[in-house]
């Protein structure tokens, strides 16, 4: 009896070679009569990660599809000055507990990274899986000021926001958020209107879409006549999304296809949207790489500003571009204008253990993924 080496996922066909082969064949049948390579942008870092980890990118290139990574990486697009503000607190004040997701702690700034700085006495950094852990810490350690540093897109925003709802209801005095909330549809608009890139279609982020539904992408199809498909995260899901986009290109009829219907409802998650609406308000946001985009971020409404770390601790967040003066070209990578290999620092000064910019730090940063996963030329 051979040991069980493969995992038995619920619905495990999504990962098999057979399914991938069939879908790639179907894609090839569509691209055969089209000018290739077609350039499709996947916006979500998790899509980028799946494409690379499964080794699909070279196989997609063989069937005429070039995947370009977009700015769907919260660690990559959150400017340094957020981290620096948190570092100042952690290092300068006692009895501070900073809770955050793993990636954020490795971003190198002028003041070091969250992981490497030495906290003030009584202060510390805690990596959490869920923002709920931060609320629990606030309850368990009433003498500490707990700050949840949350950077994320619409998938993560409702959960983080829920902690404010809970903190408000429980009258928690020692809990607050430093938020870096980014919205996908305005970023898409900015990329398209930036006019710098020749993208033939989009793969939309499946779990962002589970929250916001299908409608916010309509402008891409209707106003800009670009095809797109909402896709899930198994290899077969992404290939289904790509197949749909290629079919739209052939038919000349761009739309917003939903290829992740088992998870994404057309209206999205209404409850999550309600929480966002109740506690948050749109704001201009300064995206690393893309620059400032109006109404592309969210912040706490004035009536909940007591839970905003910026107000509670009088944090000074920088204005304008936060790019340190280095030769790092993360900004252009995030816009899909250049490949990581086009950056002069890539693979030389900038490597995973000595990252010069966020795209090499974040696990779904295009540069780290390129470095880790793309050393392989096609061997077929």
């Amino acid at each position: 009896m051979s040991p069980p080496a493969t995992i038995h996922l619920p619905f495990s066909n999504w990962r098999t070679k057979e399914t991938a082969d069939r879908l790639l064949k179907a894609i090839e049948a569509e691209t055969r009569n089209l000018p290739t390579p077609l350039k499709l942008m996947e916006v979500c870092g998790t899509h980028t990660m799946t494409l690379h980890r499964s080794g699909l990118k070279p196989r997609l290139r063989q069937v005429g599809i070039d995947m370009i990574s977009g700015p769907g990486c919260p660690v990559c697009i959150t400017p340094d000055y957020y981290h620096e503000a948190i570092i100042d607190l952690l290092v300068g004040r006692g009895d501070i507990l900073v809770c955050t997701f793993g990636d954020m702690t490795r971003v190198p700034t002028r003041k070091g990274s969250l992981q490497t700085v030495v906290p003030a006495p009584g202060s510390r950094l805690k990596i959490v899986y869920s923002p709920e852990e931060a609320v629990a810490e606030a309850h368990n350690q009433p003498e500490k000021q707990v700050i949840f540093f949350g950077a994320g897109f619409e998938t993560t925003i409702p959960g983080i926001t829920f902690t404010v709802k809970k903190a408000a209801e429980e009258k928690l005095k020692n809990y607050c958020l430093l938020t870096a909330f980014w919205l996908i549809p305005p970023a898409l608009k900015a990329i398209i209107e930036g006019g710098e890139l020749a993208i033939n279609g989009f793969i939309y982020p499946g779990h962002v879409s589970a929250i916001i539904g299908e409608k916010p992408y309509a402008l891409v199809a209707e106003t800009y006549h670009l095809p797109g498909a909402i896709a899930g995260f198994e290899p077969a899901d992404i290939l289904l999304g790509i197949l749909s986009v290629v079919k739209q290109i052939r038919s000349g009829q761009p739309l917003v296809a939903n290829e992740y219907r088992r998870v994404v409802k057309p209206e999205g998650n209404v409850e999550a949207q309600a929480i966002m609406e109740r506690y948050l308000i749109k704001t201009a946001a300064d995206w690393r790489g893309l620059g400032p985009i109006p109404d592309s971020g969210l912040k706490l409404r004035p009536e909940y500003s007591s839970f905003d770390a910026v107000r509670r601790f009088s944090l000074k967040l920088g204005s304008g571009s936060s790019a340190r003066k280095t030769a790092c070209r993360c900004g252009e990578v995030l816009k899909g204008l250049i490949a990581p290999t086009d950056c002069p620092l890539f693979g030389r000064q900038c490597r995973p253990d000595s990252p010069q910019g966020p795209c090499m730090v974040s696990y779904e940063g295009a540069c780290l993924i390129e470095y880790k996963f793309s050393g392989v030329k096609s061997y077929d």
Binding site: T46, S130, T155, G159, V208, F233, R261
Partner: protein, 73 residues
């Protein structure tokens, strides 16, 4: 920004949380974004929050599509 797993709800607490099983590991998930969730439902869990209920019919439909692709090729 979308890392999440499809798990089965195996228990519900009365504070809006519950246990979701994924391949034998259990994660404590918050269901406040999914009212009317029941034990036995399949959900997508991201950063400790259940963000969507899995539609079994749609899942089966897609799996059938894979089989049909084989017949076409």
């Amino acid at each position: 920004m979308c890392l999440a797993i499809p798990g089965k709800v195996i228990s519900l607490n009365d504070n809006g949380t519950g246990q979701v099983d994924y391949l034998g590991s259990q994660v404590l998930a918050n269901f406040s974004l999914l009212p009317d969730i029941k034990v036995g439902d399949w959900v997508i869990v991201h950063a400790g929050f259940a963000i969507s209920r899995l539609d079994q019919k749609e899942a089966r439909r897609t799996l059938k599509l894979f089989q049909e692709l084989e017949k076409q090729s």
